[in-house]
Assembly symmetry: none
Homo-oligomer: 155 residues x 2
Amino acid sequence: MENQNISDIIEAYLKQILAESQEVEIRRSEIANQFNVVPSQINYVIKTRFTIQDGYVVRSKRGGGGYIRIEKVKLLDNLDFIDSLVAAVGDHITRHDGLAVVRSLFEAGTINRREANIMLAAIDKTALNTGDRDLDEQIRAQILISILDHLRYES
Amino acid sequence: MENQNISDIIEAYLKQILAESQEVEIRRSEIANQFNVVPSQINYVIKTRFTIQDGYVVRSKRGGGGYIRIEKVKLLDNLDFIDSLVAAVGDHITRHDGLAVVRSLFEAGTINRREANIMLAAIDKTALNTGDRDLDEQIRAQILISILDHLRYES
DNA sequence: ATAATATTAGTCAACATTAGTCAAAAGAAC
DNA sequence: GTTCTTTTGACTAATGTTGACTAATATTAT
């Protein structure tokens, strides 16, 4: 414990605030200054220690009055299931296999029919049609994973 | 909260009036004066926060007795509403404006919070990140229109 | 009526102020 | 000493602020 690196210390600082208040809002440069590190180290801390798998959702805004907001969310009981689907999606997925992923979610009761239809609309050939099949499959994978990550918690 | 930018404050001021009275009419220079900004900042606030995607219609007149009028759009029925959103999306749309479209659907009651979050996940920067901004905006538009078309006959 | 002037709002580009990305360098763990 | 993690900083991107210039409309003078 006496040999903590600075990232661990910043992590602990933020989590201490989160233990009491559900959400922290910081100005990146202020925290960087406070701990005497470069601003981008705050991004590193967030990227490695405040992921959705850890139960945190991060939003930010640039420009005047910009901020980084970290929110503690309640993770659902479906983590292994979501993890397995994320793994199945990988970094490329065909329409056919994408449909199977959505169907799995529906059959598991994770999403209802309306939600399934929205997902399908987002990944069907109307939506994804760049002319480059490989690119379409890549984007389809990213869309699915982005949605799957949102299904990990209540919002 | 402690360090809001002035544009957010002006936005909140206008929306507070709109919450009670359906329509605001301002004199640009008066508001600029009241908040101690240059007049063109009022245009910036309107352009970034009171778009048709957000559900607002803005009319103005120059010259003596000039004004800017902001009206919260009355949603006729779902179909016209979706048509207007499809038109607003066009063939390119930024994340900012895409978010406004989803928010409008939510506020209109066309979709619920869960559905809104799925839509947002499908068009956010995690999902669309090809490295080519123009392409991202094109795909974002296609995804939104694909979903909007589904909502048309589902609801 | 027409022209000149005054009074509004609109546009656009420069500048300012934030956060994000990425890869190289440094350090720690094994 | 090889690999993984952390630290750093140069560059990028998003958003907000400002002011000079333009455009539209109304009012006043002729």
